[in-house]
Amino acid sequence: MQLQCPMPQLDFDKIMLGHGSGGVLTHKLLESGIFELFKNDLLDERHDGAIFSLPAGTRTAFSTDSYVVSPVFFPGGNIGELAINGTVNDLAMCGANAQYLSLGLILEEGLPMQAFWDILVAIKFAAQKAGVQIVTGDTKVVERGKGDQIFINTSGVGTVHPKAQIGFRQVEAGDKILISGMVATHGVAIMSVREGLEFETTLESDTCNLNHTVMQLLDAFGEKIHLLRDPTRGGVATTLNEIARDTRLGIDLWQKNIPVSEAVAGACELLGLDPLYVANEGIFMAFVAADVADACLEQLRSLEYGAQAAIIGEVVEAHPRQVVLTSKIGGKRVVNMLIGEQLPRIC
């Protein structure tokens, strides 16, 4: 998806320290750039913060995340849409539909203006797609060498779905574990650029907003959905270990059901990575009551970004706090948390 907005006329072709000084350059950047691009009633007040009310009687979720991805532009997206989708999805995992976001930008001196603009445009369209407004923000510039082009922080609030009862305390033995799509896609896409590897097919990040899909699932299955998690850093294996630890229950994982695209599986083999530990962006896991699992899977497969969904395991009383994988050939092994960072192996 290539979405474009014309870049405003600015005096410099790269970010200068002055753009963060609060002076004329900052104003010009804000006035002709950011405010115009993200235009909405709350932002237009141009106050130090946004003032709004949330519908009475609703529960509110609040979440924050920082984005430091390198490279900033990668196949399938850039840090901008990641920053929107990430926080929107964190809220969705709370059962909440994101409404308002803050946007904190830390720019490195020398960042090309065109790159900055492309990121802002990606932010605008990602926010639009997710149905969320950027209502307050901040821009700082750090000296060259003190940052990595651009860091972004977004925080957001959203109203929790009235039927949602989500939390690890709801998880019980017998719950089925659904995954909404292919694993390891985002991490491998980033790694392939970082390592300068080229594959026959281009691997693209699957970054996307999951809030609409999650809200529709909650409409249909409400409190039968016990837990939602997006397996970002540390991948599926680490997230499931966290859940096993918190719930003091065991988790059985079925390798043959875990969806991995052929290209990603091949790349992982080459790089010596285990897809279960690779970071994800555009997928989530749902722990759902066994009696609705099949219906939930069927609906998920009909929803946006859910076509590849699968049931990959279940919660069990046996082996508390451990995640045990049944391999494709029927062998069993314990799947631990990721230790340190995944390093490619030698031979």
Binding site: K328, I329, G331, R333, R345, C347
Partner: protein, 362 residues
């Protein structure tokens, strides 16, 4: 590739193995990649209990001596070189710290997939010295040798390698020469034989009267290799067989061997946890001395002390299983390893750290 992971084929192999085996046999898989695959696919608990697999020294990261890691750290920190390495090597603790810790404190340590990239880095940074930490078995030797030839031809003067190459056949010899050895058969490492061929193993089979089966890495490969070994053992035979014929021609890869011998010569080599094994490694030949980091930089002689609590040597020789170590899973974990086999994904201790938990559970 997927046929070598086919559940039905695996089932057939397991049945055949069950029918063949009549008593306990102790078999060593030499290569860490095989250890990893046995554990990752859960094969160890699918096989008949009579099959006792012990895990060999074939994990290059595990056997790289401590003082060499210290030298790599010294080059990165004191000499300010761009130190390039395969990823596995970074987490292995030296006597004071690992390369990963050096990296965190500002040293220029880079993870590469090929030593040729390091030559490119040297060309791009003519004012910096670039050193590639060339560890590995025969498998990685051709690429490392090629990087030296490549640098030589391109006139790149700021590139050198810190070589710690080790060889499989002398390691098998050392394992068998140990009076406490209990090993009755070997799975030889398929990838190594892809380069070197299989002829090196005939003398070993004869001298030690043990079956050696050149074996691949997929579940079906491993089970077939184990089955072939057990069939020999049950009949009281000892032959060299090749399970991995789809990849390993008997003569190996003569071109790759030529490149290796052009740059390297065989030398005595220290193996971490085992000690010096005669003629068990490669060193850079004198005519390429300019590319040998140990000669290029005047390195301080460091006296590296191994942890006295780590029994890596016994584990690497197949005399102890990782979980028989008193520190296993207690003082020594993948997060805080005492010795190298707990670090690399191919190290037997790290593999067992995961597996033994599964055992407790069953």
């Amino acid at each position: 590739m997927s046929e070598y992971r086919d559940p039905e084929l695996v089932e057939k192999c397991l049945e055949a193995l069950q029918k063949t085996v009549t008593r306990r046999w102790t078999i060593m898989e030499v290569c860490g990649g095989q250890t990893h695959s046995l554990v990752k696919n859960g094969l160890l608990n699918l096989m008949p209990p009579e099959i006792n697999m012990v895990h060999g020294p074939g994990c290059p990261v595990c056997v790289t001596p401590l003082h060499l890691i210290d030298k790599a750290v010294w080059l990165a920190e004191e000499k300010g070189v761009i130190l390039c390495s395969f990823g596995d090597m970074l987490r292995v603790p030296g006597s004071e710290r690992s390369l990963l810790e050096s990296k965190a404190s500002g040293a220029d340590v880079r993870i590469l997939y090929s030593p040729l990239e390091a030559v490119k880095i040297a060309q791009d940074n003519p004012d910096r010295e670039v050193v590639f930490f060339a560890v590995g078995f025969e498998t990685t030797a051709p690429a490392n040798a090629l990087s030296v030839l490549h640098a030589h031809r391109a006139g790149v003067k700021n590139y050198s390698i810190l070589a710690s190459h080790v060889l499989v056949p002398p390691a098998i010899e050392a394992v068998m020469n140990d009076e406490n050895s209990v090993i009755e058969g070997f799975l030889a490492a398929g990838h190594v034989c892809t380069i070197m061929g299989i002829s090196e193993y005939y003398p070993l089979v004869e001298r030690y009267k043990v079956p050696v089966v050149v074996t691949g890495f997929e579940p079906v490969d491993l089970l077939q290799g184990i089955l072939m070994t057990v069939q020999q053992l049950e009949k009281g035979e000892h032959r060299l067989e090749n399970q991995y014929t789809r990849v390993v021609p008997p003569e190996g890869n003569p071109e790759a061997q030529k490149v290796i011998h052009q740059v390297f010569e065989t030398t005595d080599r220290e193996w971490r946890g085992i000690g010096v094994i005669p003629m068990s490694g490669y060193a850079v030949r004198p005519e390429f001395a300019a590319y040998d980091a140990t000669l290029k930089f005047e390195m301080p002689e460091t006296k590296a002390e191994e942890s006295t609590e780590c029994i890596a040597g016994l584990v690497l020789k197949g005399q102890k299983k990782p979980h028989e170590c008193p520190q296993f899973g207690k003082k020594c974990t993948p997060q805080f390893p005492l010795g190298a086999p707990m670090v690399s994904s191919e190290g037997a201790c790290a593999a067992y750290y995961h597996f033994s938990q599964a055992m407790e559970m069953v």
